[in-house]
């Protein structure tokens, strides 16, 4: 001892743009994150609908007509799939973010998740009945 140990730590660089390709769980994470782009776009579609509603019956009819195209169908289909993925990925982590303790024990996570799925079904049903 006494002699200075030579240190030369080696740092492995990580790509800032392609790091998520390394592991399937990172890909799943990115799939969850990009749902926001679709939700953003769809919310602006709703804002356009609201604008046409404010402009009167003719403008609203024009909005409905502009929706009726293969692109309108394709866009809505894509948003449907993506937002459903957002909902599933959101509810499934709720017990981690908001655990519920009753007495000593924590409520099992799957009960919390299933309660959310149930509430989701009820809310969706109400919206569909109201909206149609």
């Amino acid at each position: 001892m006494g002699e200075e140990m030579s240190r030369k730590p080696y740092v492995r660089e990580i790509s800032k743009t392609t790091w998520f390709l390394r592991q399937p769980r990172y890909m799943r994470y990115m799939a969850r994150e990009v749902t926001c782009i679709f939700i953003f776009a769809y919310t602006f579609l709703l804002i356009c609908a609201l604008g046409s509603l404010a402009d009167g019956p003719d403008a609203f009819q024009e909005f409905l007509n502009s929706l009726r195209s293969p692109w309108g169908v394709l866009f809505n289909l894509a948003v449907l799939v993506v937002t459903a993925y957002h909902s599933l990925s959101w509810f499934v982590v709720t017990p981690q973010a908001m655990p519920i303790q009753r007495g000593e024990e924590f409520v099992p996570g799957n009960i919390i998740v299933n309660a959310h799925y149930g509430a989701w079904a009820v809310v969706s049903l109400i919206i569909l009945i109201w909206g149609m």
Binding site: I47, G51, W90
Partner: protein, 113 residues
Amino acid sequence: MAKSNKPIFWGLFAAGGTVTAFVTPALVLITLFAAFGAGMDMFTYEAIHAFAAWWLGKLIIFGVILLSLWHAAHRLRVTAHDFGIRADTVVAYVVYGLAALGTLMTIVYLLRI
């Protein structure tokens, strides 16, 4: 170290994430039907206008749109970073600016209904 101001946006992100998880898929189903042109008679201007003119209807529409916008904006800021864009301040101004614009448009439209 100073405490972060991210809680402002994260609060909206989390509330918005919950709201969109519950309501957006059903809303998309409705607009999808409209895009198919199915049952055009069910989307009557009068019925939808009446809902948007009702004070509680206004509040619900405003709440859903506001929270969806700020949820998406905040997550997009994080996603930009994840794709390697390191100009976080610029990204924050752009995405929050878009959300603010959408919020403003919603307020104006709702007041006109």
